[in-house]
Each structure stands twice: as C-alpha cells, then as structure tokens.
C-alpha cells in the first residue's frame, strides 16, 4: 500500500475521494487523461465498456477520467456517454456496475499530474490491473483494451507496452534513441517506451506512486516513459502486445520534436542516473515477451522536408558550439562539425558516432556540466542530423532493411556500453 500524502498536502480532491469511496475495491481500472476531448471521449468509453463486457464480464471495473480543465465539457460527456445495448440481451448490459468517475486536475494540468492521480486512484481502489487509454485514439477497439489489461490481470505481468503497425519513418526518436539505448543499458528492449496506451499492474503502479521524483520535469512531461523505464530497470515483468495500426499523423511539426526530446530523453537520462547501481551490473539484453503479432512497418509514400532538418542540424552545430564543447569530448565534437560541413548528399551520421554522442550526453547529464534541460535541448539539432542521415540512406529501403538497421544500431549501443561506463566514472 502506497503512502498517500497527508490531508493538508493531498493532491486528491475531497469530491474525488468520495467517488473512490463509492467505487470500492476493483479488479480493473482504465484511465483516460483528457483535455478538451469531448468529441472523441464517448467512443473511448464505449470501447472500454465493450472490452469489459466481452473479456472481463465478472471483474469489478472502473473507468477513470482525469481532466486537465477542459472547456468543452469533456467530463460531462464522459459521464453521460451511453453504451449501445446488445439487442439480444433484453436491454441488460454487464453483470456488474461499470463505474465511471471523473476528476479535474487543474492545479497540475501536466501529464504528470494526471498520471499521478490515476496511480493514486488505482492504489486506493486496489486495482489489480490498469490501463491508460488515449481519448483520441481512433483505432482503439475493445480487443486492444483487453490486450492491454489481460497480461497484468491474468498473467502476472507488471508492464504491458503496446506494439503497433507503423510507417517506416514514424517514431524515429523511439527507433534511434529511446529503444536501442534503453535496451543496451537496462537489458530489456521495449519498442514503445512512450505511448499513450499501456497497461500496468498494481505492484508497478504503487512502486511508481511511492517515488519522489514527481516534480521532475521528466516525469511531468513524459510520465509514461518514466514508468516504462522504471519497469525495465527494476524487477518488473514486462511484455509487449500488438494493438494494430498506430493512429496518428506520420508527420509532425518541429515543436513536437523538441517537446518529445525534452520529455522523453530527459526521462531516459534521469532513469539512467537514478538506476545507475542497477544497470552497471547488467550485461547484454534479453527479449521482452510479445503477445500477439510482432510490430510491423508499412511503407506508403510520404513527404518529408529533409532540407529543413539539415539546415537546423547545421545551424544547431554552429550556433551551439560553446554548449556542445562543454558536453562532448573534443574528438566527438570535431567529428560532428565535420559531418555538418559535408555536402548535402554526403551527410552521414554513422551509428558509431551517434551512439558515442548519446553516451557522452548521458555522462554529461550525470555530471551536470550545465543545466540538464539545456543539455537535453542541445541534443535536438544532433537528433535532426541523425534523422536526416537516416532518411537519406533509407529513402527507398524496405521495412526489413530498416528493421535490420535498427537491430544493428542496438548492437552498436551494446558494443559501446563500456564507453558509457568510462565516461560515467571519468569526472568522479
């Protein structure tokens, strides 16, 4: 049982506690964080209730909406969403009451605040298995939700990560940084460390709730990544389950990339920092069990603005010289500058230098050579460079070739792991 803070500084409103009291102990909890999602949340509720009826008809269940202060009556829509009744069952729906409770997280509208509320609710309700669902995921089906809950509810897994069918150029931060680096360091490869849909057990939830880092920016921006990293770095049983097509735009704006890097890489580095005792003892990596199909890549044509990425890489390398000097070893910095100076068609940000760069960043993060958020932001142009190089090289590659490239990158991370250890201990 986690220790929830005292009444004076509790982050759970009285009204919410009253709702929890009405629900009582549950077996399953599904959380939906929302912010102005009135047009899509009804569908999410419907899918969840169908999942409960089809796969968990006898379990005690609750759907929890943590709203960040919507102005379009998202919470009201959530509560009033009607479940379409099965015409063969004489209007009778589920065996048990399916509770829906909602709370507003307005004093901490960040994702971290909403997630913490969900963990606290799950802990107070003693939910055996939980899942977090995005209110806007249009591809979500009852089977997907069941797939996220089932491993934790019935098969003793602690963390259930999703696997998707994605475009080959989608999710490159995960493919080039989060996945291979976390796999090399912690020994377990979760492909989708950052996901808006995932499942977890009460054991993992309580563990995360008891952590002290809730005010860290990494947790506030990317609590799901933080939880996933917590799971793979500790003794929690992890698995991955296939959910089908990832429903989100393959392309995004530049601001998404900065926010994604700041949140997720910070979470990763923070976890590496806090779990150093654990990962230093580990070697190699083990596969994480996969339930259902494995992930999949599609290759329909898509327009990518490579030129802009290259420009931003170059401007970053030149504009952040003083900062990069502080972070990187002279040889690595020089190599990056050399890459930036290459002709457009010849820019190659090889795996070896990319891995070395990331490990030096991680070590610099550990040694706090400068403000940590600034350090993470300094990585963004280099990431762009790496992606530019990847897109140039693999413009016409098949999904299999891209997958082989990813595996090769993972091995490079594992191969250079001793270098990370060396940099880690260098300035101590």
């Amino acid at each position: 049982m986690a220790v929830i803070s005292s009444a004076e500084d509790s982050f759970l409103a009285d009204d919410f506690l009253r709702q929890l009291m009405g629900v009582g102990e549950v077996d399953l909890l599904v959380g939906i964080p929302s912010q102005n999602n009135a047009t899509t949340i009804s569908r999410a509720v419907e899918m969840i209730e169908k999942a409960f009826q089809q796969s968990f008809p006898r379990d005690r269940v609750v759907i929890l909406n943590v709203d960040g202060g919507s102005r379009d009556f998202t919470s009201e829509t959530f509560l009033s969403a009607m479940l379409s009744k099965n015409s063969n069952s004489r209007g009778l729906t589920s065996l048990r009451t399916i509770h829906r409770i909602t709370t507003i997280c307005s004093n901490a509208p960040s994702q971290g605040g909403a997630f913490r509320t969900m963990l606290a609710a799950a802990d107070l309700l003693r939910a055996k298995a939980c899942a977090v669902i995005s209110p806007v995921a249009s591809n979500l089906t009852p089977a997907c939700i069941s797939a996220l809950l089932y491993p934790a509810a019935r098969e003793n897994f602690d963390y259930v990560a999703p696997l998707y069918r994605r475009h080959r150029f989608d999710g490159l931060l995960a493919r080039h940084l989060l996945y291979p680096m976390s796999r090399a360091i912690f020994g377990k490869g979760i492909r989708e460390l950052h996901s808006e849909e995932f499942g977890f057990s009460c054991r993992l939830g309580s563990h995360c709730l008891n952590q002290n880092g809730w005010r860290d920016e990494a947790v506030q921006f990317s609590p799901e990544t933080w939880m996933a990293l917590g799971a793979i770095s500790s003794d929690f049983r992890c698995c991955q389950t296939f959910l089908g097509q990832k429903a989100h735009p393959v392309m995004s704006s530049g601001t998404d990339i900065v926010a994604a890097v700041r949140g997720n890489v910070a979470a990763l580095f923070s976890c590496i920092e806090s779990q150093q005792v654990v990962w230093m003892e580990r070697t190699g990596s083990e596969p994480v069990p996969t339930i259902g199909s494995d992930h999949d890549l599609t290759s329909e044509p898509v327009r990518v603005n490579r030129k802009r990425m290259l420009e931003m890489f170059r401007s970053g390398v030149s504009g952040l010289t003083t900062i990069l000097e502080t972070i990187l070893e002279p040889g690595t910095h020089a190599e990056i500058q050399r890459i930036a100076a290459l002709d457009d068609r010849r820019v190659t940000f090889a795996a070896e230098i990319w891995v070395r760069t990331l490990y030096e960043f991680a070590a610099a993060y550990h040694h706090s050579v400068l403000n940590r958020d600034h350090l993470i932001q300094a990585l963004v142009p280099l990431y762009r460079g790496r992606i530019y190089s990847f897109l140039l090289e693999h413009h016409d590659s098949s999904p299999e070739e891209i997958e082989a490239d990813t595996e090769s990158l993972c091995l490079e991370f594992e191969h250079q792991r001793p270098y990370l250890l060396e940099r880690w201990k260098a300035r101590e």
């Binding site: 009253r18 709702q19 009405g22 009582g24 006898r58 004489r90 065996l95 048990r96 009451t97």
Partner: protein, 509 residues
C-alpha cells in the same frame, strides 16, 4: 394441521399447498390422476375441510395448486382418450401422427426429455407433453376441457379454498409456427376463467406461474381481468446474483424493466421454491456466473436451474440469509417463504430431480425430525441428517427456544412487514448512491414512507444517500424504533456492517 399454530405464530397469512391430489407421484403430485379428491397418503376430503376451517379460524388463507395444463397419464381422462381414436375423450388431449409438429416449442425438462411428443403404444400415435412424458397436455381447443377444469375449480372453491396457483399457465394452447407459449388464445382462456370466478365468488385469487420476462408476465394481468397475481421469476435469480457480485445492478436493472401492473394486481416474489432456481430468464453470461458461483458441482444443476435451498446457497451464512429475507420482505410484491427456509433448512443434491429441496420439514430433533411417526424407511424422502443442516441441528423446536434464532428473527421480520401497507402496496424509488454495494430504496404510499438500505457486500461500507426530498424527516429504525439523525441538506451518511440492512420509517416530527 397440527402445525397451523406454528404457522400462525410465524405470522404468515396465507398458505400455498403443493398438489395433494391422487397421483402416481412421479412428479411430486403435479401429475394428477384425480382432480377432486385427496391422495390417501394425506388424508381424506373431510380431513381437508377440517384443515381448511382451522386455517381460516387462524386468519390463514389457503391457496392450492391447480395444474391446468396437463394430467397424469393415469388420469381416467387420458386412459379413455388413449383407449381408442373414437373415444369421446380422445380430443381432450393433443394427438399427432408424427412428432414433427410445433417444432419451435422448446423442451422444458432438458435433463430428462428429448422431445415434447411421446409415443402412445396403445393408440399408436403421439401425444403432446410440455413437461414429463407421463404428463400429457390437455387440449384447450376443446371447450369440454375448459368446462371440465372450470368444474374442478368450482369444486374446490365451493369447499372454501381461497385461491389457485395455476401451474404452467403459458403452455395451455399450441399453434403451428409458434413457440406454443403465451398465445392470445391462452389469455382468452384465462380471462374466461377469471370472469366466471368473479361472477360466482368473491375474495378469491388466481396466481399465475409463468416463468417469463417481466414485460411478458405482465400480460397475464391483462387489464385487471386475468390473473390477480403472478410470480416475478426474473427478480429472484438476480437477488442471488447481486449478493454474490456485491453489486445492486442486477436488481435495479430488472426492476427498471418491470412494467406497471393494474392497481388490483400484485407480484409474487420469492427466494426459493419447490422447483429448481430457474435461470431461464437470465442472460447466458448471468447463467454461467450463477452456475460457477452457486452450483459448482454439476449435480446441483437441473433443467437450466439450480436445485438447492436458500441456506446452502448462502453457505449457511446467517447474515446473508437474513439480508435476502429483508429484500424479500421489503421489495414490491407479496413475499412467499418456502417451507423450511425460515429455519435455514438444507438440501440433498443426491436425490433425483428436484427432490433435494423437497425433504421432510424438520420440526424437532426426534423421530423423523417430527415429520412423521412412520418407519423412516417409509418416508417419501430421507430427512436431512448431516451435522450442519441435519434435523438435530436445524429444527423448529430448538429455534423456538431461542430469541436469537433465525426463526425468531423471521417472526420479527414478518411483523415489521405486516406493520405497514407500504411494503405491499407502496411505490418504490431506488436511490442510486455512488457505492454500488449498497441497495437503497424508498417505499411510499400516501404519507407513509419507508427507507430500506441494504449492504450487499461482505465488508463494511460507507454510503451517502441523497435524501433531500425527505429533508426534515426523522428516520426511525423499524426493528427497535430507535431514532436516527434528522435528514438535512447534506447527503445522509450511513456506515453499515457486512450484509447489514436497515428499514426506517421516515416521520415528519
């Protein structure tokens, strides 16, 4: 008859007798071979009249069974009908050259019958039976059958019985292309019975046994011109479900589906009876749940139901037994207590068919549990004798001696029930507190209001009830008449122990 005093003391005001007619007893008397006599095992007609008068003297009305749908194959009518195809009574039953008619009709006794047609080797044709093959269905398309059965009813009404429980009423009429249930012709027959009854007698009652969904059962009330009462079958399994799930949802859902009935009509509600706990009016999911929770052993399952008594189903948990009885006594309808449940009798699932719940009444810890002075081997059924539910442990005599026994508690509960007409005639409004483990409702009739709150779970619960409508009233607990805090603007907080119930009279003082 010697036990009428006990029944009077218990507080009941009507007694429903299972069939006592002459019968081969292959279906506990529901296979009748003579409608106007008493089986010699039970006594004579004179004995019955004496019993009837004694019951009336104690304010207890007598309702008897009347099986309209079928007779025993030993009934003289059937013997005549089958003797030859030209016999005048041939058409009193439903015959066919083949067994292919009425294919849409389901088989009710699935565990024993494979068809609704049986071959008669005497008349070399098939006869129709919705129940056991030794219970051929009467043919109500023949007016003579109707007249004969009306004659039977008149016979007993003239003796003085107060009402009839009409068994298997939906199946009276068959038609091709239908399920042979609930046909308009059946309702027409019932209306005619009712018309003749109202014309010739007063204060008599017809009770329908129709195991159907509430909306379908309510048709048997007609416009107040068919049955006076009907069993609310779908509610009963849901009460058991709700307690096991610790969730009021099954009860609320079925009550929301229960339509209004004519003002002069009434539901009959019950927890258990002589038949299996029927699961015909539940969904497949609910049925599976009930089997898994209450009939883990396959021997407990029979004909889409569960053949167990109340106490064993509640694992002999006195609190749960009491909770269910509170629900029985406080929900809308006339409650029926199955004999023996008032003392927590057990069952014997190793007896065939439904006989496991029809064991002899346990009056005392002596010879045959006080049921009979005959040799035990001659009893129609062995007495329950295991250490938990056996007659030495569970019997009327020992429970009478203790004010804290289940029997004593039941007497007090029945008193509370009888203390207010609200329970029988009042409306019901379900409160829907956020705690789904608490079932709370207000019964209201005129100015009188009663709040009933039930904790369906095995753990203590806190619940906030929205009683603003009753602001200013004082809840007075009905068992001990203790005062509770006045209802104000804020939600009324109650804390309840496991399986605890409260009934409050809401008085404005």
């Amino acid at each position: 008859m010697q036990q009428l005093d006990y029944l009077q003391e218990l507080g009941i005001n009507a007694l429903w007798l299972m069939p006592f007619f002459p019968s081969p007893l292959r279906d506990d008397g529901y296979d009748i071979s003579d409608y106007t006599a008493i089986h010699h095992h039970y006594g004579s007609l004179e004995n019955f009249k004496t019993f009837l008068n004694a019951a009336h003297d104690r304010g207890i009305r007598i309702i008897i069974e009347l099986v309209l749908n079928h007779t025993s194959d030993q009934h003289p009518w059937f013997k005549e009908a089958r003797s030859s195809r030209e016999n005048p009574k041939r058409d009193w039953y439903v015959w066919s050259e083949t067994d292919t008619r009425y294919r849409e009709a389901s088989i009710i006794f699935l565990d024993t019958e494979t068809s609704n047609w049986a071959w008669d080797p005497i008349s070399k044709s098939y006869y129709w039976h919705r129940f056991f093959s030794h219970q051929p269905d009467l043919n109500y398309d023949n007016p003579a059958v109707f007249d004969a059965m009306w004659g039977v009813m008149k016979f007993w009404l003239d003796i003085g019985v107060d009402g009839f429980r009409l068994d298997a009423i939906p199946f009276l009429v068959e038609r091709d292309g239908t399920r042979c249930e609930n046909l308009p012709e059946t309702h027409a027959i019932v209306r005619e019975f009712r018309r003749r009854l109202d014309e010739a007698y007063s204060n008599k009652m017809l009770l329908a046994e129709a195991n159907l969904w509430p909306a379908d059962v309510s048709s048997y009330f007609g416009a107040g011109d068919e049955f006076h009462m009907a069993f609310h079958f779908p509610l009963m399994p849901r009460v058991f479900m709700a307690v096991q799930l610790e969730d009021r949802k099954p009860i609320i859902e079925i009550m929301e589906q229960t339509p209004h009935i004519p003002a002069a009509c009434q539901w009959c509600i019950f927890l258990r009876n002589h038949d299996e706990l029927t699961l015909a009016t539940v969904t497949d999911m609910e049925r599976d749940y009930m089997y898994d929770e209450y009939a883990t052993d396959a021997t407990m399952r029979l004909n889409l139901g569960i053949r167990r008594r109340l106490a064993p189903m509640m694992d002999n948990d006195r609190r749960r037994v009491q909770l269910l009885n509170v629900l029985l006594m406080s929900m809308p309808g006339t409650p029926i207590i199955y004999y023996g449940d008032e003392i927590g009798m057990g069952d014997n699932v190793y007896l065939r068919d439904r006989n496991g719940v029809r064991t002899p009444m346990q009056w005392n810890g002596g010879w045959n549990a006080g049921f009979s002075g005959a040799d035990p081997e001659r009893l129609y059924s062995p007495v329950i004798s295991n250490p938990v539910y056996g007659y030495q442990a569970i019997n009327v005599e020992s429970q009478k001696r203790s004010p804290h026994s289940l029997l004593s508690w039941m007497k007090r509960l029945i008193e509370i029930r009888k203390s207010s007409r609200v329970f029988s005639r009042g409306s019901i409004e379900f409160l829907q507190p956020s705690n789904h483990r608490v079932l709370a409702y207000v019964r209201e009739s005129g100015e009188e209001k009663i709040l009933v709150v039930n904790n369906l779970s095995a753990s203590s619960q806190a619940v906030e009830l929205n009683l603003q409508r009753y602001k200013g009233t004082v809840p007075i607990e009905m068992a001990a008449r203790n005062l509770f805090p006045r209802i104000g603007d804020l939600p009324y907080l109650m804390t309840m122990g496991p399986y605890q119930s409260f009934a409050f009279r809401l008085r404005r003082l």
